[in-house]
């Protein structure tokens, strides 16, 4: 079963995505911010992570930088409120591990489809 980590500082949103992915048949773990995520990742060993942009504490850039030092290198899908230009996508995807993004508020089917696309 594919393991996915759901990282979001908003409890309701984190639990909603967690519930959705569980119902879709994935094994899930949650983290409430960047530090929590980085602490848990080596133990959980997720294949994919949904990572909220704009969390308190570590910035997204800092999280992605520190992730490079970890053994586990999951694929990352960013949950954002903005669109990215091609140039920005290039920059962000070059940070390592980021493979896609989805803007909030999203349709559940869209999130599920993006995840399915990248874990198959």
């Amino acid at each position: 079963m594919t393991k996915i980590m759901v990282v979001d500082d908003e409890t309701d949103l984190r639990e909603m995505v967690n519930l959705l992915l569980k119902k879709e048949g994935y094994e899930t773990q949650m983290a409430k911010d960047g530090e929590d995520f980085l602490c848990k990742i080596d133990e959980v060993q997720p294949r994919l992570v949904t990572l909220d942009v704009m969390m308190p504490g570590l910035t997204t850039r800092e999280i992605l930088e520190r992730l490079k030092e970890k053994d586990c290198k999951p694929k990352i899908i960013l949950l954002t409120v903005v669109r990215f230009s091609e140039e920005e996508k290039q920059q962000i995807f070059e940070m390592g591990n980021v493979i896609d993004y989805i803007t909030k508020p999203f349709e559940l089917d869209d999130l599920v489809n993006i995840i399915k696309k990248h874990v198959q």
Binding site: M16, M54, V82, K104
Partner: protein, 298 residues
């Protein structure tokens, strides 16, 4: 002090006083001091404005995030229940949840409009210009509004001139303009009527014309029709929207170097024709204007 020293100190003090007076009274020095002080004030005000600008941007970013995140959670749970992932639901429950979802989408659209107009007003709307095929935008727009046209049985007739050049525009924003204008046309048209969408080249611009045969716009309202929150009839609120769509559309088009205007006699049945233009050669710096904005926060 001895007498001579006292004398010297006195003289020095006198000289000092005279020197200060000379400095204060010399018009050249006065002007110079005035300019120095003015420059300093301008620099301080400049720093203050930059700080306020950054704060404004942060407020918009935080507002966007804080409003859209709970909407995401609400929509998510409703959809999970509607998909019966938490157990079966009966027809009445399904209908009720669909009402909740519809209103959540309405709320989300309103939040988006308010953020859009705020960003346009403060010059902080982000544009992503890319090479765009007009035929594709039109096709995608018509697909987007298809469900609304079915509700009122309205026919959208599209006529796109052959071999139109590709434009360098923010595709999603131009679609937003088209969806807004077509949605308005549908809103103010009778059932079983038609709307004509015509796109053609004219010199250095592409003209987009949206003609409906609805109630039209009275002449005395035309001058204000693109103002924020302006609605011809207060009763129009019942049809949805708060009067921001045209203001946002105008802002997007101006940013792209285009224009928008309306022709209408106000006679019911004669409808209105909204026309907007986009330049074939893109304006400079639409994308550069926003380059310094952090991609994660804008």
């Amino acid at each position: 002090m001895d007498g001579d020293a006292v004398e010297i100190v006195k003289i020095l003090r006198e000289e000092e006083k005279r020197g200060k007076l000379y400095k204060d009274s010399n018009p050249c020095n006065k002007k110079s001091i005035f300019l120095d002080e003015s420059n300093q004030k301008i620099e301080e005000q400049n720093k203050q404005l930059k700080k306020l600008n950054k704060e404004k941007s942060n407020i918009l970013n935080v507002t966007s995030h804080e409003l859209r995140t709970p909407i995401t959670a609400i929509k998510g749970y409703i959809q999970i229940i509607l998909k019966q992932k938490l157990g079966e639901i009966n027809d009445e429950q399904k209908k009720s949840l669909e009402v909740v979802l519809r209103n959540t989408n309405r709320l989300d659209a309103l939040v988006q409009d308010i953020l859009d107009i705020s960003r346009l007003d403060s010059g902080r709307m982000k544009f992503i210009p890319e090479q765009t095929d007009i035929t594709t935008i039109v096709k995608e727009t018509v697909e987007t509004i298809h469900v609304i046209t079915l509700e009122k049985q309205i026919q959208i007739n599209t006529s796109v001139e052959d071999s139109l050049p590709h434009l360098i525009v923010d595709k999603e924003r131009i679609k937003q303009v088209l969806v807004n204008l077509l949605t308005n046309a549908i809103k103010f048209s009778e059932c079983n009527s038609k709307i004509d969408l015509t796109i053609r080249k004219n010199n250095e611009d592409i003209f987009f014309e949206i003609k409906d045969y609805g109630r039209g716009i009275p002449k005395d309202h035309i001058a204000n029709i693109f103002d924020s929150f302006y609605q011809v009839n207060p009763e129009d609120k019942k049809l949805g929207g708060v009067g921001l769509g045209l203001a946002i559309s105008q802002g997007i088009l101006i940013a792209h170097g285009g224009k928008i205007w309306v022709e209408s006699t106000g006679e019911p049945g004669k409808g209105s024709k909204f026309i907007f233009t986009l330049p074939i050669h893109p304006v400079e710096n639409v994308e550069n204007r926003f380059k310094e904005l952090d991609p994660f926060y804008n």
